[in-house]
Amino acid sequence: MTPTLHLWLIPILPLAGAAINGLFGKRFSRRSVAAIALTFCGAAFAMAIWIAARFSSLSLPHVESFPRWLLEQGLGTWIRSGTFSVDYSFALDQLSLVMLLIVTGVGFLIHVYSVGYMWEEGGYYRFFSFLNLFMFFMLTLVLASNYLLMFVGWEGVGLASYLLIGFFFLRDSAAAAGKKAFIVNRIGDFGFLIALFLMIRHFNSLDFSQVFNTILQNSQQFPIEKSGAGVLTAIALLLLLGACGKSAQIPLYVWLPDAMEGPTPVSALIHAATMVTAGVYMIARSHVIFERAPSALMVVAIIGTLTAFFAATIGIAQTDIKKVLAYSTVSQLGYMFLACGVAAFSAGIFHLMTHAFFKGLLFLAAGSVIHAVGGEQDMRKMGGLRKHIPWTFWTMTIATLAIAGIPPFAGFFSKDEILWRAYQASWIYWLVGVVTAFLTSFYMFRLWFMTFFGEYRGAAASPVHEEHASDSRRGVSPPHGHGHGGVHESPPIMLVPLVTLALLSFVGGWIGVPGSLGGENHFDKFLGPVFRSATPNINTGNAQPGEVVPPERTTEGAEPKTGHSTEIIFTGISVGAGLLGLFLAWLLYIRSPQLPDRIAGSIHGLYSAVAHKYWIDELYAWLFVKPLIAISGTVFWRGIDQGVIDATLNGSADGARELSDEVRHMQSGNVRSYAAWVAVGATAVIAYMVWVGLRTP
């Protein structure tokens, strides 16, 4: 008998916060809105830590539903249809514990940061209500014990993302970006949903452990689909489509850069640290399916590699500080997909974790920069901020070093592990990965140099500004709490999360130091049971060891015996790539700042392709959006809606009116004409009766 952990409380707590702030927040002061949001989010974080502390005493995976008094209200079972049923239940294992800690921990820090960042914006309560709502859905997604509940969280985070991208809804671009994110995600969700239907069809269950046990125990029915694609490949590819939508991979990545229209804490929380990694989590969670579909796994790796590379090249030519980070996020998510695609799931989750730290930090620091320069996001109008905002500068430096893969920062270990595992799968993955690492380092240090070094290039040549530009741009006029007398450091409530995340970005990788560098790779060992074993049958526990056929592959965590020296050489190469990127950025943006323009001029075609994001948005607009709008306008709207549906309704109404128009003349007010009509009617009735009488003999 395992202890009761009340897992259900973890998602419910932020939901309560969202409900309180959403329903009554308008009457609360900003201080109490922030207190409510932080309390409920912090309570979820505290519960996550409490669970982590008791984790070793649990038998895994630990499945829980609602407590008995809620079960008695009939809450336990959601759907029951014949032998198929779906429960409201939550599962905890190593993987979901890691995700739980990331989501609640980083989420809580970003909540704290938002208190300061959003202080002067309108709709304060709305913002925190949405943010708590997001936490609810994300925690549902992470803790769900079946695919359907996961899908609920999956859709819910999409909703929260839509609401928060469009938070400044008075701006058309923000509203459009929200819609774009929502619609592009629908395409992915379509794939996810079809995958669920296939699972119901073939496994008669959506429960993680039941689905995986069915696959593991019926290896004749569900073999490793090496040649030719079967059910598992289909399910895996459809799940991948869903993951591509949520995690912004090619071809569905286009929504994420636009999503930067949302407030910066939202970009940090939803569009960098947590929600966009849901796709990686889902693939890692479904590893049993993916491992039996090698071709699908290869597609995952190829998509990841391509996305990592292309997004990184686009990131080079962006001038908006948040857009650079957005493409960087897409690129780093590509790394995670690459890791999953070469069946290095724990490496992918490791990078997911470190990425949550350093990318969350990068966005928060970028928000601090934007805050400091009064809402300006164009890096060309920044510069020399190092002296003015030292805290932001130093935290951002740590994050930049982490993402560039410079040891001993967090990103180095996770990226290095992915590259090493990718090399074992194919040298092409590795090569593209290393080039991407170089590009990543280059564009990150470009951002770093452009923002913090050189001379300030903002308005009026001196770092003074009168108005909080973001406020006027966003069309709201919040009260000015404190003066904006120039470039200024953010308040402590924003700096504390920055420093905490900087610390995590620094040490976060140390739990996964690979064997080649004298480490133990604790992280890999910790996650090992999830990915290595056939998931134990928790329902009956009668699975015979002999029945379970382990997949034929190098198991997770088992370091191949190719020798550590090779691995160290590769580590050196990837660090070298990072340093080369740093050097090149220094050369181009510090040493000779006029050089970038000259280079851009000399390779004008390529540069403009990159700067315009390869015209992918335009291509999609031309290929899908415009035809769809045209078809909608002509066929669906004018043709079907107006031509058929409206025409039927209006036609019947018009017909009735015209008929009535004619018939109403009968009501002349002339009594004798009424009498005549009565006579005509009576005659007709008699004629009918006579006719009937004559017909029946």
Partner: protein, 103 residues
């Protein structure tokens, strides 16, 4: 006794009376005349009722006739009262000038 006058004679007379009533109702303009046409129609029907009652040796036809006479009496009382009220307000008995009730 029963066969002195055939049923059809009664029915033809009844139809003639009813047709006279209908014609009068349709072509006359004076309300009093129309009113009397209605009475004529009712009595035409009454005649056919009693004729059938006598023919089939059933009492229900007679009962119907009594009902019709009661209704006719009530109708005469109410109808004449309406006609008097109408004449007081419109000062005419021409039915074609009483045509306010129209769309």
């Amino acid at each position: 006794m029963n066969n002195l006058v055939p049923l059809s004679y009664y029915l033809v007379l009844s139809a003639i009376l009813f047709a006279c009533g209908v014609t009068g109702f349709l072509i006359k303009r004076n309300i009093i005349t129309i009113f009397m046409s209605i009475e004529l129609m009712l009595n035409g029907v009454n005649l056919s009722f009693v004729a059938f009652a006598a023919h089939w040796q059933k009492l229900s036809g007679h009962v119907f006739v009594f009902f019709v006479m009661v209704v006719a009496a009530a109708e005469a009382a109410v109808g004449l009262a309406i006609i008097i009220a109408l004449f007081r307000t419109r000062e005419t008995l021409n039915i074609d000038q009483v045509n306010l009730l129209k769309l």
